[in-house]
């Protein structure tokens, strides 16, 4: 901005300034401990109103009791002393939003933590969204019928996710939950999707790795990272997912589609439990406060697809929950399962058997289902789930190989090939056109004669062969979401030709 422009703007602001008196509500800090401050006074303060301490730190009024107010401190406790003044700001907690957040890593209060300098608002001024906001009403919503392509065959074929859906990713530690979320973000390149990754209680080293990967792969061109790491106060870990939701709502209000990942809500529930116990709220089951369900339900209800009259746009949520010893019937997992529109269940046993992503297709579900699939995928994946279910049933009998009839043996062989095809390396999302070709070859029996150990090589080679010899088939899927009869005949021919080359 030119120096003269700045001076003119300052002169204008001073000229319009009305020097009226300032009214504010004050209180006095009585107790300070573990991220919580009890203050007296503040008699007219509202719930969730922001307060400011004498040292400049911010807090949120959580407990409004007779004679005292319980405040969670959104920062360091250092410098807050008994007897200090605390002033009500009159504002509910909010976060600065804007297009300038894309490509940046911010904390739960919207301040940059990526070392790339402060986030400069546009010339129009800073815009802020409230952290807590009521979810869009029923009338403003539209049904979910557009896919979110994760790039992971097992998910796009069997547990399809749609724009505006909430799909839970649940499993034990180190089973690939974050990997699925990151692969999904990587696959959104060119899909007209803004991604928001919310890290709650994660190690800083893990976040740095994720940020570096996203930057190297160009994903930061459409991604915002909101972080409240393990070293952040519990108050910031509690607020972080809502801050991520507020950032997502800004983009949705512009009619855009947004994908938000909450990694993970188990740590979020633990942070909320810590705050609630320090505020002396009565503990319930597993010492969680009584409103721990509401903690997640009000967050996840903000993900939706809006109709055109209400501005369009959508927020797709991928919350992550970590289970202990595979127990999906524990308190927090069952809460979030009942809120979301499906779950992707990852198993440790499958992971160590080499089946990665370790998706247990039997326990996983998408309540949106094939409404969120393109026609081509619907056609090839239709029988795949059933084939896999039958394979799992028959697997127990595989030790009696010599006693099985031909049909059962074929079923087993097809199932083994299906499991092999659904394996996928990390950070290698596959576009949906390639997925349909591979699954077409699998479900139509073209891979039945290929050895299990050669399946991956066959898959890679087939995709390259189709890219070079039948690119129009791929563009037909890309543009029309389905192939024609002629296209299918051509594909069969191409697959046959490739098999001859592969086997020779």
């Amino acid at each position: 901005m030119a120096k003269n422009t700045i001076v003119e703007q300052l002169k204008k602001d001073i000229a319009y300034f009305q020097p009226k008196g300032n009214q504010k509500t004050e209180g006095v800090v009585m107790e300070v401990f573990d991220g919580i401050v009890n203050a007296s006074g503040l008699s007219s303060i509202k719930a969730s109103e922001m307060v400011q301490f004498a040292n400049g730190e911010l807090g949120v009024a959580m407990n409004l009791l007779e004679g005292s107010v319980g405040i969670i401190v959104l920062g360091s406790m250092r410098g807050i002393r008994e007897g200090d003044k605390v002033t009500a700001t009159g504002k509910i907690l909010e976060i600065p939003v804007g297009d300038e957040l894309i490509g940046r890593t911010i904390d739960a209060l919207g301040q940059s933590i990526d070392g790339a300098g402060d986030i400069t608002p546009p010339t129009g001024g800073k815009k802020s969204y409230p952290i807590e906001r009521i979810a869009p009403g029923v009338i403003t919503r539209k049904s979910v019928d557009q896919p979110v392509q994760t790039g992971i065959k097992a998910i796009d074929a069997l547990i399809p996710i749609g724009r505006g859906q909430r799909e839970l990713i649940i499993g034990d530690r180190q089973t690939g939950k974050t990997a699925i979320a990151i692969d999904t973000i990587l696959n959104q390149a060119g899909e007209n999707m803004i991604c928001v990754y919310v890290a709650i209680g994660q190690k800083d080293s893990k976040l740095r790795k994720i940020e570096t990967l996203l930057r190297e792969r160009g994903a930061m061109d459409y991604t915002v990272i909101v972080s409240a790491s393990a070293s952040a106060p519990a108050a910031l870990q509690y607020i972080a997912p809502y801050a991520g939701a507020a950032v997502s709502e800004y983009f949705m209000d512009q009619g855009k589609d947004v994908l938000v990942v909450y990694d993970d809500l188990s740590k979020h529930a633990v942070a909320y439990r810590e705050i609630s116990l320090l505020l002396r709220r009565p503990p319930g089951r597993e010492a969680y406060p009584g409103d721990v369900f509401y903690l997640h339900s009000r967050l996840l209800e903000r993900a939706c697809r809006r109709n055109k009259e209400s501005g369009g746009g959508s927020i797709t949520a991928l919350p992550i929950i970590e289970t202990q010893a595979g127990d999906i019937s524990a308190y927090i997992p069952t809460n979030v399962i009942s809120i979301t529109d499906g779950q992707i269940f990852l198993e440790t046993d499958l992971f160590y058997k080499g089946i990665r992503p370790a998706v247990n297709v039997g326990f996983s579900v998408s309540r949106v289902g094939s409404s969120a699939q393109i026609k081509a995928m619907k056609k090839v994946a239709g029988t795949l789930k059933l084939d896999l279910a039958q394979f799992r049933e028959l697997e127990a009998f595989s030790q009696f190989g010599s006693d099985l009839d031909e049909a059962t043996k074929n079923q087993l062989e097809r199932g083994k090939r299906a499991v092999e095809v659904l394996k996928q390396p990390q950070y290698s999302p596959m576009i949906v056109e390639h997925q349909t070709i591979v699954l077409y070859a699998l479900t139509r029996g073209h891979m039945d004669s290929i050895a299990i150990t050669d399946i991956k090589r066959f898959e890679g080679g087939l995709i390259d062969y189709v890219e070079s010899n039948a690119p129009e088939f791929l563009s037909e899927i890309r543009t029309k979401n389905m192939w024609s009869d002629e296209g299918e005949a051509e594909l069969k021919q191409v697959i046959g030709d490739f098999k001859k080359i592969f086997n020779s």
């Binding site: 001073i14 300034f17 020097p19 008196g21 009890n38 006074g41 503040l42 008699s43 007219s44 800073k126």
Partner: protein, 135 residues
């Protein structure tokens, strides 16, 4: 009542004190001080409790204390005028003006009535202008 807050102690004290006769009142005051000291409460806690008790007693007598921060000391006449104006405006039986000096205010006046602060100082207005210009 070991973990009670100052206002809770004050309320308990007041509920007994308001019903007690003169002889019992003195004993009550002594016992309260002894109890707080025995429980190891610090000076700040005791000061706060005494403030709360004072507030309750004054409130029950219809007295309101208003803190007035100025740059120079108010004369007795000015305090009296202010007190009468507030009694009329706010409907209190009696208003006591506590005048505190703060040169950092530059000029003007800051009033504290209960929890609400009314800042009419030059310093307050400059701070408001600063926050507006640096938005």
């Amino acid at each position: 009542m070991k973990n009670a807050k100052p206002h809770e102690y004050a309320r308990s004290f007041y509920s007994l004190y308001s019903k007690a006769d003169e002889k019992t009142k003195l004993a009550l005051i002594k016992n309260t001080a002894r109890t707080l000291a025995k429980q190891g409460k610090g000076k700040t806690f005791i000061d706060r409790t005494l403030q709360e008790i004072e507030l309750l007693l004054e409130k029950s007598a219809g007295i309101e204390r208003i803190k007035v921060d100025t740059q120079t000391a108010l004369t007795a006449t000015k305090k009296e005028t202010l007190a009468k104006a507030f009694e009329k405006k706010l409907g209190f039986k009696k208003v006591i003006i506590d005048n505190f000096l703060d040169e950092r205010n530059i000029a003007g006046m800051k009033l504290t009535i209960g929890d609400t602060v009314y800042d009419y100082t030059v310093k307050g207005r400059l701070e408001k202008l600063t926050s507006r210009l640096t938005r």
